[in-house]
Symmetry: C2
Subunit: 210 residues, 2 copies
């Protein structure tokens, strides 16, 4: 690899990848950097710079071939191999995610759900296997699960994360409203916090109104 890709570029490239699927579905086989920029709300320069991290890929004069672009993105970012994921905490949000049917088509396989509440794991109706919390570390290790979505209450999140890290998890999407400490582990954490996003919007409203 010539150069490290900045995280902001990675984020956008993931969006481009999703866009490719959308375009292919709509039957559009080619698109320019300007076109991508419009669809993603990003400047055309930025799109070109980002895509250059994959090497030269565009067809001069006529933009990018969507299928080819998608393939290169998949190769570079590792979307070819299916990543195994699990959901920790099967409350309303966790259950909703467990039943979400778009992970598969997107290249992720949710192989397990966990909850400390035995009642919950017995009443959930789903094809995905659900386990009591104390089996988590074992299952994660044995099934070689890559990603965990943490949807437990704030108070339990750090503990769960510690267990997951110890079990060799490779990445975490954290829905709990706390910042997870990964200690020495070089494991990436992505935080998704609705309230925080709403607060950001509220701030922008307040500050924007001046």
């Amino acid at each position: 690899m010539k150069k490290r890709i900045p995280i902001s570029a990675i984020t956008r490239l993931c969006m481009v990848f999703r866009l490719c699927d959308e375009l292919l579905f709509q039957g559009q086989t080619s698109i320019s950097s300007t076109g991508i920029g419009k669809r993603l709300g990003v400047a055309a320069h930025t799109v070109r710079k980002d895509l250059n991290f994959l090497g030269e890929i565009g067809d001069l004069g006529s933009g990018y071939d969507v299928a080819k672009l998608r393939l290169h993105l998949a190769n570079t970012l590792g979307f070819n191999q299916v990543r195994k994921a699990c959901i920790v905490g099967l409350g309303r949000l966790g259950s909703a995610l467990l039943k979400y049917d778009r992970f598969g088509p997107c290249g992720f396989c949710v192989v397990a759900g966990f909850d400390t509440n035995i009642n919950r794991i017995e009443t959930i109706r789903t094809d995905i296997k659900v386990y009591p919390g104390y089996e988590m570390a074992d299952v994660v290790r044995h099934a070689a699960i890559d990603l965990a979505l943490i949807t437990v209450p704030a108070g339990a999140a750090q503990g769960v994360a510690d267990e997951l890290l110890d079990a060799g998890i490779r990445g975490i999407v954290n829905f709990a409203p706390i910042v997870i400490d990964t200690g020495a582990c070089a494991v990436a954490v992505r935080n998704m916090n609705v309230v925080n996003e709403m607060r950001i919007l509220a701030s922008l409203m307040t500050l924007g109104a001046e």
Copy 2:
């Protein structure tokens, strides 16, 4: 206002605000920039720079008074006034959000849910009023709703957004896997997309492994 606060700083300040609540709950009344940094996974310099956007606020020598800090954040970012929110699309995710009970304590009041599917709005059990989709614009306008959480399928998201923008919405949290075009409207949109976050993690795993 002396200077515009960059969005990255706003994001962090919102996290600091949440941390204040946590600290107060735990009975901690004072904290240093270093302490905040540790809890948030951010450098102490950054914390101080961010907090300076609120003006001079720290007590020299002994850090920041948590309650005072919280108050200043609330004043500057507008967390004093309760913002009204609504949820558009009452599928699994939308329903989960509708039943989420932490919005209130965080200063947001979810006043309405919307869905085009009449069956859904009749079967949902909640204290929050739910309406059929065609009443959305009216309700948003009349109740002066500030924020909308969009949890409809990708194909319907842009249409819903257009309606909301027209009805005078002030901010959008978009859960649909598309980029919303706000046209001329200076309305902020925050995207929350699990699959995209998972893809980012997968990319980092792939690139990190080199």
